[in-house]
């Protein structure tokens, strides 16, 4: 049970062998001579076999499935026990014969008995062996009546003996009923406390707490589902039960243990990590070398592409050069031919007139020269400032054409000057930035600490701004928040200003007739304030700013961001809720400040974590329910209080608590139960009272073994306990012959009911 820190328990999907092998059948010597058939008819497991043997022959889940499946059989199908799992079609029809620990569904019971008698090899035309069967404490008469009816009328058994399972388990472990004792028998659906004295079970004093194995399985399941609402797997009941079997334990002092459960040292010891199967994330399996090789290949490819592009460019230039040659040749030929032939030649070359030819030559020349320059590494020389000679000459000195030209030049000059101004401005800005960067750098070199503090402060400011924006957005989602109200008021004000009538009497009344809205740029921010669109742009700016700060910090103060992350993680890890849900594992930050690089192992671990449960407080919280049924909202006294009540009723028979016996499959198998019970009983017993608490050797099978031993050893008592068919016919189905391990029988007079049933 104890697990070293950091160990992860991998939970199976279900039982390792879903249908355990049945015993082999060799019944020839059995069933002869009236060897009783013992059936421990428990609500979750049924165990059956021959009284002469030490162990039950059969042990199966007490369920039946009656259904149809045309693929297998034309008729109805009946599966019993672990067989129900063999056909998925049977699943919706799986039924138990029990309701709250009591047999109520006798169709299912008939199936179970058929199964038992068939597997025990009964081949006669009736069951000729006495039946010894367990029933729950204080079984309702109706249930026993129906059981007897089934046994006597359907199977024609000679006799039946009913007894209480946990009491027979006591017999198995004590050898008799001579010793006084107190039984805590805990089953699947309920737990009973039964005192034993005067050589029999004192059923009159028996008490039942309606909690059992099933209730804690459900409780554990619900707790886990609520603890991890986004868990990607379905946790099955079987797994929940498995977790209880594996990790639950009873706290010796619940309050004390609870108070320090999430403390680091305790948590490291007691937190259990349960790993569910998870899909492997897709990983980059390449080694560093391979990655480098891929990058190299990519670089080579890029180079090749560049070469190809250059070649293409060169081809184009060559083409233009050739074109230029041709065009020059055409121009040269002008002098050698008459105008008509020349025009013809121009037309052939796709040109309209001589001007067109000149343009084509100029553009081709430009391309070729530029390409040559580039090849030779010559920068295109600065264009000299264009001159605007006409601008300064007065109008009356110019003719009309010149005037037009002057206007054109004036316009060109203005735009040229504007461009110049912008360029200078840009250069200045660039210089200013460079100067700032230089100053910053200088400051970094000379006053590193101040510089660093400033940088940190700037980073904090950006983060604070982003947080504020986030908080504001969140607040806007709530209509009643202050932010929302302010926004609504702003909208209303703006709307009122726009719709105010031209005389503006509304505003005049308020005394600010002259509307100076817009006089300052900041006024327009109001529209940004009322806009509900996400401020992605602003956020992006801030992110970029943050990124530059982070880069600088990584470069010059490498540990700073790490330490921030460590602090952030520690803050999360120290919260109660985190410890509760994630134990002692390091927290995963949503936005780590330091750059993260996940290797493959880390990626796998992260995926695995999504499929992990942490079991900590639940380990004691779940079993504690038997001591405090109020935990699950059951309005009943807990185990100790009930024991106390029974002790009072026996006028202080302290011999009972010197032999407290726990059995059954519910709570009794949970570790720590004995110690806790002893400690608790000590607190209510007079000082110095001897107290002994023991567990059945086999809490699950001892009931069957006890019944088998009892009817073999206690011959007289067994003979007297057998309800015969005649008894059944004369006394009615609910009739019971009492014995040491039995319920009480009382022939309750029927009440004349005003409502006939």
């Amino acid at each position: 049970m104890a697990m070293a820190q950091g160990d992860i328990y991998e939970i199976p999907d279900g039982p390792s062998d879903p249908s355990p092998a049945m015993p082999s059948f060799d019944f020839t010597n059995m069933g002869q001579g009236g060897t009783p058939i013992v059936i421990d008819n428990g609500s979750s497991m049924c165990r059956a076999g021959w009284a002469s043997e030490n162990n039950p022959r059969l042990e199966f889940e007490s369920v039946v499935a009656r259904y149809r499946n045309r693929k297998i059989s034309s008729g109805p199908i009946l599966l019993v026990g672990d067989n129900v799992n063999s056909d998925p079609m049977a699943k919706p029809s799986i039924r138990s014969a029990f309701d709250g620990g009591v047999v109520t569904n006798f169709d299912a019971m008939e199936g179970i008995l058929d199964y038992v008698f068939t597997l025990l090899g009964c081949v006669d035309d009736k069951i000729d062996q006495p039946i010894v069967m367990t029933e729950t404490a204080c079984t309702p008469y109706t249930s026993r009546k129906n059981m007897s009816e089934l046994l006597f009328e359907c199977y024609d058994v000679p006799s039946v003996t009913y007894g209480i399972d946990s009491v027979w388990s006591y017999y198995k472990n004590m050898g008799s009923f001579a010793a006084d004792g107190l039984i805590f028998g805990s089953g699947t659906s309920a737990s009973h406390i039964i005192p034993i004295y005067d050589s029999r079970a004192q059923i009159d004093l028996c008490k039942r707490i309606n909690l059992g194995g099933l209730s804690i399985t459900e409780y554990m399941l619900k707790l886990m589902q609520l603890k991890y609402p986004a868990f990607p797997m379905k946790i099955t009941e079987w797994q929940s039960q498995h977790l209880i079997d594996k990790f639950a334990y009873v706290a010796e002092d619940y309050e004390k243990e609870l108070s320090c459960y999430l403390a680091t040292e305790n948590l490291q010891q007691k937190d259990v990590i349960v790993q569910f199967p998870f899909p492997m994330p897709s990983l980059d399996e390449r080694t560093e070398e391979e990655i480098e090789r891929t990058a190299e290949r990519r670089r080579e490819q890029a180079k090749k592409m560049q070469e190809i592009a250059a070649k293409k460019r060169q081809e184009k230039v060559d083409m233009r050069a050739k074109e230029l040659e041709e065009l020059s040749e055409i121009r040269d030929s002008k002098n050698e031919m008459d105008a008509e032939t020349f025009a013809e030649r121009l037309k052939d070359a796709g040109l309209d007139d001589e001007k067109d030819l000149e343009d084509a030559i100029a553009s081709a020349q430009q391309v070729v020269i530029r390409a040559q320059n580039k090849e030779l590494g010559i920068e295109p020389e600065e264009k000299e400032a264009p001159s605007f000679p006409l601008v300064d000459i007065p109008d009356d000195e110019l003719d009309d054409e010149q005037k037009q030209e002057k206007r054109k030049q004036a316009f060109l000059k203005a735009s040229h000057e504007a461009r110049e101004r912008a360029r200078i401005e840009k250069e200045k800005e660039k210089a200013r930035q460079e100067e700032l960067a230089r100053q910053d750098e200088e400051r970094r070199l000379n006053h590193f600490d101040d510089w660093l503090a400033d940088l940190k402060a700037k980073r904090d400011t950006v983060i604070a701004r982003m947080e504020d924006r986030k908080a504001h957005r969140k607040e806007l989602n709530d209509r009643r928040s202050h932010a929302s109200q302010v926004r609504m008021r702003n909208i209303a004000d703006l709307a009122a200003a726009e719709t105010a009538n031209p005389t503006g009497n509304k505003r005049r009344r308020r005394g600010d007739q002259d509307d100076d809205f817009g006089a300052e740029d900041a006024d327009w921010n109001i529209y940004r304030d009322i806009s509900k669109d996400d401020e992605a742009e602003e956020n992006e700016e801030d992110e970029a700013e943050l990124e530059t700060y982070n880069k600088q910090l990584v470069k010059h103060a490498p540990d700073y961001l790490e330490s921030l992350d460590r602090a952030a993680r520690a803050k999360i890890e120290n919260t109660t809720m985190y410890r509760f849900t994630d134990g002692c594992q390091p927290a995963i930050l949503e936005k780590p400040a330091a750059p993260q690089k996940l290797d493959n192992a880390a990626i796998v671990a992260q995926t695995a974590r999504e499929y992990q449960l942490h079991l900590n407080i639940e380990r004691i919280r779940v079993p504690e329910t038997i001591f405090r049924p109020g935990l699950v909202g059951l309005d009943q006294a807990g185990l100790l209080e009930t024991i106390d009540g029974i002790l009072r009723q026996t006028s202080g028979r302290l011999s009972l608590i010197n032999n407290v016996f726990i059995t059954g499959g519910g709570f009794s198998t949970i570790p720590g139960m004995l110690e806790r019970l002893k400690r608790d009983i000590q607190s209510i017993a007079p000082a110095g009272t001897p107290i002994k608490v023991r567990r059945a050797t086999d809490p699950l099978r001892d009931a069957w073994r006890g019944a088998a031993q009892w009817c073999t050893n206690e011959v007289e008592a067994f003979a007297a306990s057998r309800v015969s068919k005649q008894d059944y016919l004369e006394q009615g189905g609910e009739y019971l012959r009492e014995h040491g391990a039995s319920n009480r029988y009382y022939a309750a007079p029927k009440r004349d009911s005003p409502f006939p049933t």
Binding site: T118, L226, L262, M577, R628, Q636, A637, A748
Partner: protein, 147 residues
């Protein structure tokens, strides 16, 4: 709910609907009965059954059984009947525990009635999706049942 399939009339001409108890004496011998795989118990010979036996029972759940029995007969005050042996309500003061974590709870959220351990857990309660506080309350049967 008439769960008694045995008592059902078989449809005329439908051999498949033959009540199971009628063929319980025929069927395959036991040797063919496998315990693993799909094993139809109805196809196995069960000679020990009384073919005359027909149950006319109607299936009742425990609550109905108890209600009927409790009022149908006169029971002595001290008779240990099924309904009489329930452990009584606890008289000890009930400690309160955090519905979320199970730790001792000092506070109760007046809005949802969820008990909680600390302000930090309270923050979690505030962010619970609607309805899940009822699931937490259902753990101790304190949820509001809408009828």
């Amino acid at each position: 709910m008439p769960a008694n399939k045995r008592g059902r009339k078989s449809r005329p001409g439908s051999a498949a609907d033959t009540p199971a108890h009628q063929d319980s004496r025929d069927g395959e011998p036991l040797a063919n009965f496998k315990t693993s795989g799909i094993t139809n118990l109805l196809s196995v010979a069960r000679p020990f059954k009384n073919s005359e036996y027909k149950s006319s029972r109607r299936w009742k759940n425990l609550k109905q059984v108890i209600a009927q029995e409790q009022t149908g007969s006169d029971w002595p005050v001290d008779f240990p009947a099924f309904w009489a042996i329930d452990a009584p309500p606890s008289l000890a003061p009930q400690k309160k525990y955090c519905d979320i974590t199970g730790l001792p709870a000092k506070y109760t959220d007046p809005k949802t009635n969820v008990r909680y351990y600390s302000a930090e857990v309270y923050q979690i309660i505030r962010t619970l999706p609607p309805g899940s506080e009822q699931q937490y309350l259902a753990l101790r049967n304190a949820n509001v049942m809408l009828k």
